[in-house]
Every structure is written in structure tokens, then in C-alpha cells.
Amino acid sequence: MATEAAAAVGVGYTKLTKASGRTVLDLATEAARSSAQDAGVPLAEIDGVVSFSVLDDSVSSEAVATTLALPELRYVMDFHQGGQSPCFMIQQAAMAVTQGYAKNVLVFRALNGRSGVRVGSGQFAGGAAQYRYPIGYNAYLMYIAMWAQRYLYETRTDPRALGEVAVAQRAYAERNERAIQRRPLDMDSYLASPMVAEPFRVADCTSEVDGACAVLVTTLERARDLRHPPAVIASAAYRAGARPGLDIGDQLLYDDYTRNFTSLLREELYRRADITAGDVDFAEIYDCFTAVVLMGLEGLGFCGRGEAGEFVRSGATGLNGGLPVNTHGGLLAEGYLHGMNTVAEAVLQIQGRCGDRQVARHDVGVVTSGALVDGSALVLTTDR
């Protein structure tokens, strides 16, 4: 590992609800403040704020710096992408603190994703949408469904594999007080769930919520003096495939709908951390829809091509399995903070703070952000 390393040191959440009744700025401020308090870093020492949004559904980094009354702001970013972003935002924060451009950088995602702007049904402007809306190809879940159908076809995977993902993750959500979906789910109730866009049933889809989540990043040196053990940022990567598209719904020029960005970035992600897939203790895989977990398991090298469904069915991704996956219940069950909470869960697991759902081995965790052509990922480790 390089002498200069960064670590995630604290996390903050608001309550996740279907109607917050609060402004996004209010939510963002609460989660950001909580992450600093969680780490034991005085707000006055926070000098960087980083965030992302889609469709202007959030508030600016400077607005949050203002409500928190941060006295010295040195690093800001307001990034205009969705679920591809969280790991990449942590990467930005890590670069800022390891390069000395800032000391303590907050990364947050805040939105009224249920009661306000709903990403799945938005009217995206731009030239590519004119080829989608007249044919009724007008929701994000349909774009993922189109990939999932091709994946199931090429890999000869039984669509019930999607249900296995939903069932496995719900078992974690039962142990997660923050999760918005905690009712037990078995395969029968999965199969009774109404079809939305083939192959996705309601139970395959993320739970949209109002809320916010933040993660605080600082140098490893500073992290060692803070309240909780550091979650060392051992590696980070962002990758987009060739010709990633004119907008969020344009994947016409991406060759292969069965392998997502995780297969593109796996090698460099692991190389930078000097690990292999076999070294990974647990994974938090972005899951706006179940099929993305199957592509992630294969893309990250945890199982072979077409084997992800059987991998999940075998119990491997459960709490007592060889590779616990989405230990908060995932975005499916905890709620759709566009993957910021996926990062935060990995930090809590590395720190050993997950209580009933704490995985036994938690020295090396992988996190992903994103679903299709483009996305980012992290390797987090204990301070070894």
C-alpha cells in the first residue's frame, strides 16, 4: 500500500421514509452532520464536500457547507450522474485528502426519491429520448429489464434466480432496522409479486425512499486517532464501456447486454489493492434491480459465467455463506439512496459495527456503484 492512504471513518443517515415532509437540504445536512459526529471529527475541520444528483433532485455541496457553517471549504464536487457515482465520489474524496488538497471530505447523497423526483419515471430531455418515449420505452427499469432478458437467455439462467437474490437480501433486511422492506420474503411470495417489466416483478425492484446518507473520508493517519477503526480505501476504479451512450437510456452501441461495467474494471480494481476475488470477505453490489447482482457476481469474478443464479441459490451470499452480499438488504430492501447507503454499509461491516447482520470475516470488502455500461467500485479493508 502507498504511504499516503485514505480511509472512510464515519457514516450518517437520516431515517428512510416514503414521505419525509422535509427539504432535501434538511436531509442532506442531517446525514452529513451525523457522519462527522459518528467519526468524532469536529465540523469545523470538514473542508471538503462532494455529492451527486440526477434531474436536479438534490442540493449543492456548497449549500450543505453553508448549512453546516463549514469555515474553510477547499474541495467541492457536484457530480451529475446517478447510481454510477457513490464509489467514484469516495475515490474523489480519497484523492483530495491523500494529495493534501483537503483534510476531511464529506460525501453525501440526499433526495426525496419517493415523494419528490422519482428517477425511474422522469422525462429525460435530450436527443436520445425521442427514440424511446414514442414506443413506451420510458422507465429506467425497462432498460435494465432489456439487459436482464438477454442475460437470462445467453446464460440459460432460470428467471427464478432473480427471486433467489430478492429472497436472500430480504433475510438481511429483517436484521436491519433501517430497511424499509422488512417483511419476510420466500420464493412463493416472490412469484406472487406482480410483473412490472419482464423479467422484473415488484420484488425485483428497488424501494424508492426519501432520505440521505453520508460518509466521511480522511487520511489513514488521521483515521487511526478517531472513534472507530478505519475502513481503508485500498482501491477504487471507474469504468465506462466504449460508446457509453448519449444519455441514461441509450445503450444501443454497447455490444454486450450480459456483462456490465464490473467485468471491465475488475482487473484494475483488484490489482490496485493487490488482491484477488478469492481474498474478498463480503461484497455490497449495487442493486437497483435483482439482475444487476447476478451480473456483478460474475463480473467481479466471484463465480463463473452463468453461475451467479446457482451461487445465490446455494446460500453463498447469505450471512453464513462464503461471500455475504448486500448485508443491509440492498437497495431492494433498505431503500434507494442510489448506492450511497451501499458504500456506508460496507464501511460499517469493515468497522465491525453491524450487530445482528455483522459478517464474521470482514477484512476485505468490495462495493460497486452502477448497473449497466458504466460505474465505479471500491475495495475497503481493515487497517492491516
Binding site: 425511474g120 425521442q130 414514442p134 414506443i135 413506451g136 412490472v196
Partner: protein, 140 residues
Amino acid sequence: MSAPAPPTPAPGAISEFFWSGARRGQLMIQRCQACGTYIHLPRPVCRACHSFDLLGEPVSGRGSLYSFTETHRPFHPFFVDRVPYLVAVVELEEQAGLRVLTNLVRVAEADVRIGMAVQVEFERLSDDLTIPVFAPAVAA
């Protein structure tokens, strides 16, 4: 009460040929006049040779099904009476990887097979809007 209007594109200079072609009953795809590469969605520059000399040209309208999804829930008022309906990615025979987004028509979901041969036809949704759709190809 009048029926909801379909979502109607507001084409720019780069895409007008596609929609006016559909109104005439022709599937038009942008093609590089320098190297012959077909490009869809239309872009300002050829991705193969970077020429700006691009024009819409008629294509055969024959292709094969790359993927599809049947949507059961409408996300726009126009589709309330149309669900469930099929949305598809069709690969045109003119060039490997040349894909279009479309609706699949005159076929039940249970009979749809990825890889099946399909053929373009046209559906008039309003005075202003005709869309290319695809149906199973009829053997010659």
C-alpha cells in the same frame, strides 16, 4: 374526453429524416457517406472514420431480435390502454451491432424468441407521428 396524445418527439436537424421516413413508410438509418458505416442513434460524426458527411438512407427493415421486455405498467398516460406491450432491441441485417429500439407487434409474448427474424412495419399513432415497429418475419 379525448384520448391521451402519444409522446411525440421534437426532432432536430440530425434526426428529422428518421421521423419523416417513418411517415412515408421507410426505415431510414444514418450512414457515413465516406466509409459506409451505419450509425444509430444519429450522431454528428462517423464513429468509424470521423467524417461529418452523414445522410439518412433507407434500409431493408429486416433484422433479428437481440432482446425484449414486456411492460405491464404504464409510465405515461398514452400507454394505459396499451399495456402489456413489447419493447425490443432489433439488430438490423445491414451491419453487425446496428441496433434499433422498437415495439414488437402481432406476436404474443409467449411466442417471442430472442434471435427470431423480424421485419419492419409502421404504426401511425397520430397525424404527426408514425413509428417503425417490428413483427415476426414472414417466410418468403
